[in-house]
C-alpha cells in the first residue's frame, strides 16, 4: 500500500535540499526526510555561504533568502599569546550585486531553502529518522524510517545525511571515519547590537567581515578558528581534528573558552550575550576520503560524501553543487528508466569533472602535512609575531639591519635547512 516516489532524499541540509529542489523543479515526485524538528534546527556552520553555487540553483536568491550580511572584508590572523599578525582584503565591490559571499545562520537559511523545495513540489517530512536503506537484489529500493508503517519506496535514494553518514556506512560505501579525517568544531552565537558590531569591525550598514584565525586559537594544534559578523550577532568557533584533540587531551569547549578570553579576541565580544552553543563534525579527510558516491538506486552527496575543502572553509557550496549534479543524473536516469550504478555514475563523472574534486585533489596532502608537522602552528606563528614586533618597533636600528636580525633569529631557532624544508613541504601541500 505504501506509495512509491521517484526520489527519496535523506537529510534537508544544503546538499539534500539542493537535490530535492532540482528534482522537484523538473517534475519528479520527491520526498525529503529530515530528522530535526525543522530543517536547520540542528545544523551547524561557521556561516559563510558562497554566492556562485546557490545562484546556479536559485538565481538572485539574495533577494529573498534570509542572509545575514554580504562579506566585504576577509581577514586572516596569525595569533600569538599577546599579539597578532594580520592581513586581508576589503573591497566595496563585494558589497554589491552579484556579491561574493554572505554570512548566514543555518537554522534560518535551511528552513528557507527547504521551503523553496516544497514550493517546487517536494514533500518535506520532519522529525523522522531514516534507520536504514531497503535493499533488494543488490539494489536500494527505499528506506526504513523510525515511524509506524514507516517503509517508503523510491527509484533512487539520495544520501544527504551529513558528515557521519550512517547510511553510507551501512551500504559499505565507506568505513568508520578515522579521527584524523574529521574535525570537531564548537561554536557560539553571541548576540550583540548592530551598532557595536559596525563600530568594532569598522563596517557600515549591510557589510560583513570574516576573520580566520590560526595559531594560538587552537593552542598550536591543527585546526582553525573563526569570527564572523551577522546582522546582530557574531559567530565564533574553533575546531581541530579529533586526533589532535585526543592527542593533546583537549576539550572542545575549553578551546572555545580560551579563544573567547584571548586578549586579541575579547574586545570584539565584550557585552555580548551568548545565544546558542553548537558542536559539529567537519569532514576533513579531503580527496583521499571521498567514498563511493553512486550505487544501484542510490547516490551520496555533500558532507556524507566528505566533500569539504577545509583549507578554504568551503562545504555548503560543494554540498549544494553535488546535490544539483546528483539531481541532474537522476533526471537523466528517469528519462532512460535506468537507475543502475552505471547510469547514476553520471553523477560521479560530473563531480570528478568539477571544481569540487579538482580542489580537493589539489589539497589532498595539506591536512596530512600540517597534522604531521605541528611546527607550522607551534613555531612559525609565534615567529611571525616576533618578527613583526621587531620590525615595527622603532628603536634606532636601521631597517636593513633589523631584517637581518629577524632572519637570523628565525634560522637560529630552526636551522636554515629546516626552514626551507618546511616552506617547500607547505608549498607542495597546497600547490
Amino acid at each position: 500500500m505504501s506509495e512509491k516516489f521517484d526520489v527519496i532524499v535523506v537529510g534537508a541540509g544544503p546538499a539534500g535540499t539542493a537535490c530535492a529542489y532540482t528534482c522537484a523543479k523538473n517534475g519528479l515526485n520527491v520526498l525529503l526526510i529530515e530528522r530535526g524538528e525543522y530543517p536547520g534546527s540542528k545544523n551547524v556552520m561557521g556561516g559563510v555561504l558562497y554566492r556562485k553555487q546557490l545562484e546556479e540553483i536559485i538565481p538572485e536568491f539574495w533577494k529573498e533568502a534570509p542572509l545575514e550580511r554580504p562579506v566585504i572584508e576577509q581577514r586572516f590572523w596569525m595569533l600569538d599569546k599577546e599579539s597578532v599578525v594580520q592581513f586581508g582584503y576589503k573591497g566595496l565591490e563585494w558589497g554589491q550585486e552579484p556579491y561574493n559571499n554572505f554570512t548566514i545562520l543555518r537554522a534560518q537559511f535551511d528552513q528557507w531553502f527547504a521551503k523553496k523545495a516544497v514550493e517546487a513540489g517536494a514533500l518535506l517530512i520532519n522529525e523522522t529518522v531514516v534507520k536504514e536503506c531497503l535493499v533488494e537484489d543488490g539494489k536500494v529500493v527505499g528506506v526504513r524510517t523510525d515511524r509506524p508503517d514507516g517503509d517508503l519506496f523510491a527509484d533512487v535514494v539520495v544520501l544527504a545525511d551529513g558528515v557521519n553518514s550512517l547510511l553510507g556506512k551501512q551500504l559499505g560505501f565507506h568505513k568508520e571515519f578515522r579521527p584524523d579525517e574529521v574535525a570537531l568544531t564548537v561554536m557560539e552565537v553571541i548576540n550583540l547590537p548592530k551598532d557595536k558590531i559596525n563600530d568594532r569591525f569598522n563596517l557600515s550598514e549591510n557589510q560583513g567581515c570574516t576573520i580566520e584565525i590560526f595559531g594560538d586559537s587552537t593552542k598550536g594544534n591543527l585546526g582553525t578558528a573563526f569570527l564572523y559578523t551577522n546582522k546582530e550577532s557574531l559567530n565564533i568557533g574553533v575546531g581541530t581534528t579529533l586526533s589532535s584533540m585526543t592527542k593533546a587531551k583537549l576539550r572542545p569547549y575549553d578551546l572555545l573558552d580560551h579563544l573567547k578570553t584571548h586578549p586579541m579576541v575579547k574586545p570584539y565580544l565584550e557585552g555580548g550575550e551568548s545565544a546558542e552553543y553548537l558542536a559539529h563534525l567537519i569532514p576533513e579527510g579531503g580527496y583521499r576520503s571521498v567514498p563511493k558516491v553512486a550505487g544501484n538506486g542510490v547516490v551520496v552527496v555533500g558532507d556524507a560524501a566528505q566533500l569539504v575543502n577545509a583549507i578554504h572553509r568551503e562545504g555548503s557550496n560543494m554540498a549544494m553543487s553535488s546535490g544539483k549534479m546528483a539531481a541532474e543524473a537522476i533526471i537523466q536516469a528517469k528519462n532512460d528508466g535506468d537507475y543502475s550504478e552505471s547510469s547514476l555514475n553520471r553523477y560521479r563523472e560530473a563531480l570528478y569533472d568539477s571544481f569540487i574534486i579538482k580542489d580537493l585533489e589539489k589539497y589532498k596532502d595539506a591536512a596530512h602535512t600540517f597534522e604531521k608537522h605541528p611546527q607550522y602552528f607551534n613555531d612559525y606563528v609565534p615567529m611571525m609575531n616576533q618578527a613583526a614586533s621587531k620590525f615595527f618597533t622603532v628603536d634606532g636600528t636601521p631597517k636593513r639591519e633589523k631584517q637581518k636580525q629577524i632572519m637570523q633569529s628565525i634560522t637560529k631557532e630552526k636551522g636554515r635547512i629546516k626552514v626551507l624544508q618546511d616552506l617547500y613541504r607547505a608549498w607542495k601541500a597546497v600547490k
Partner: protein
C-alpha cells in the same frame, strides 16, 4: 461523531527570550509550535475516533503561517483543517477570540453537525484557559474544563463520561452531547505519528476563511476593537532582597543553621520517619 478541536500556534516559551529594553518577545528566538495542550486535544479526538468512528476537524485562528500547526494536527490523525485568517481578527483577547472561533464553528456546523468541541486547557503564550469556556457559552453547550480522562463516549445516547481534575483529586462527570471539553496533558500520551499521516499532512491544504466567509459577523466584536482588555505596562518582577548568608566552615554553617531552626523543630516529623 464529529469532533472539532481548536488549535493555536504559539511561540515555544521554553526557549523564549525577552528583549530587556523593549520588554517584547524576541521572535527570532522563539519558533512557533502547536500549543502542547492542543496537541493532546487532537490526540484525544483521534483516540475517540479510533474507538467509535467519526471525523476529526481542527480549527485555528491565526496568521497564514498557522497552516503549519494544522498540518501537525493532520499528522496526529485529524481528517480536516480550517484556518480563519484575516486582519480583522488581529489583536484579539480571549473574548474576541471565542467570538471569532464560535462563528467559524457555526460555519463548520453547516457542513457537518458537531458533537463535541475540544480545546487545550490553556495556550502557553497567554496562559488564560478562557477561550474554551467562552466558546461553550457562545454555542450554548455545556463546558467541562480540566479533563484528565474521557472514559466513555456514547454517541447514540448523546452522553460522555469524563474525569475532571479538581484541586484535591478529580470528579466524575456525565455530560450531554454536544459539549465542549478542555484537556490537561494527563489526558493522553501523544503517539508517534505513523508515516501515512505524515505524508497526508505534507500534502494537506486546509480550508482558509476570511472574515467575509463567515456568516452574520458583528465586526465590532472582533480583533482589537472587540477586546475589552488592554496591556498596560510590562515590567520585570521586582527582585526580592536576600536574607542572611551564613559564614564559616561548612561545619559551622550547618551548626548555625540547625541552631536557627531549633525553635521550629516541632515542625519536623521525626517520629514518623526516623526509626
Amino acid at each position: 461523531m464529529h469532533i472539532v478541536v481548536c488549535v493555536k500556534q504559539v511561540p515555544d516559551t521554553k526557549i523564549i527570550k525577552i528583549n530587556p529594553k523593549t520588554n517584547t518577545l524576541d521572535r527570532r528566538s522563539a519558533p512557533a509550535i502547536l500549543n502542547p495542550f492542543d496537541a493532546h486535544a487532537v490526540q484525544e479526538a483521534v483516540k475517540i475516533k479510533k474507538r467509535i468512528g467519526g471525523t476529526v476537524s481542527v480549527l485555528s485562528m491565526g496568521p497564514p503561517q498557522a497552516v503549519a500547526i494544522i498540518k501537525n494536527s493532520i499528522e496526529i490523525g485529524a481528517d480536516r483543517g480550517y484556518l480563519i485568517s484575516d486582519r480583522a481578527f488581529a489583536g484579539a483577547d480571549t473574548l474576541a477570540t471565542s467570538y471569532a472561533l464560535s462563528k467559524a464553528l457555526e460555519k463548520i456546523q453547516e457542513e457537518m453537525p458537531i458533537d463535541m468541541v475540544i480545546c487545550g486547557k490553556h495556550a502557553i503564550d497567554g496562559d488564560t484557559g478562557q477561550v474554551g469556556p467562552g466558546i461553550a457559552r457562545r454555542l450554548d453547550i455545556p463546558p467541562v474544563t480540566n479533563v484528565i480522562e474521557v472514559t466513555e463516549v456514547n454517541h447514540k445516547e448523546k452522553k460522555v463520561l469524563i474525569k475532571r481534575k479538581q484541586i484535591n483529586g478529580y470528579e466524575v462527570i456525565e455530560a450531554q452531547l454536544p459539549c465542549l471539553l478542555t484537556v490537561e496533558k494527563e489526558v493522553n500520551e501523544i503517539e508517534y505519528a505513523p508515516m501515512p499521516n505524515m505524508i497526508k499532512a505534507a500534502r494537506y491544504e486546509p480550508t482558509v476563511w476570511s472574515v467575509n466567509d463567515l456568516n452574520d459577523v458583528d465586526k465590532a466584536q472582533l480583533g482589537l476593537k472587540g477586546s475589552p482588555t488592554v496591556v498596560g505596562k510590562m515590567f520585570t518582577p521586582p527582585k526580592p532582597e536576600g536574607g542572611k548568608r551564613l559564614e564559616g566552615t561548612s561545619d559551622e554553617q550547618v551548626r548555625e543553621l540547625v541552631t536557627l531552626l531549633a525553635e521550629k523543630k516541632n515542625l519536623f516529623n521525626f517520629d514518623v520517619n526516623n526509626s
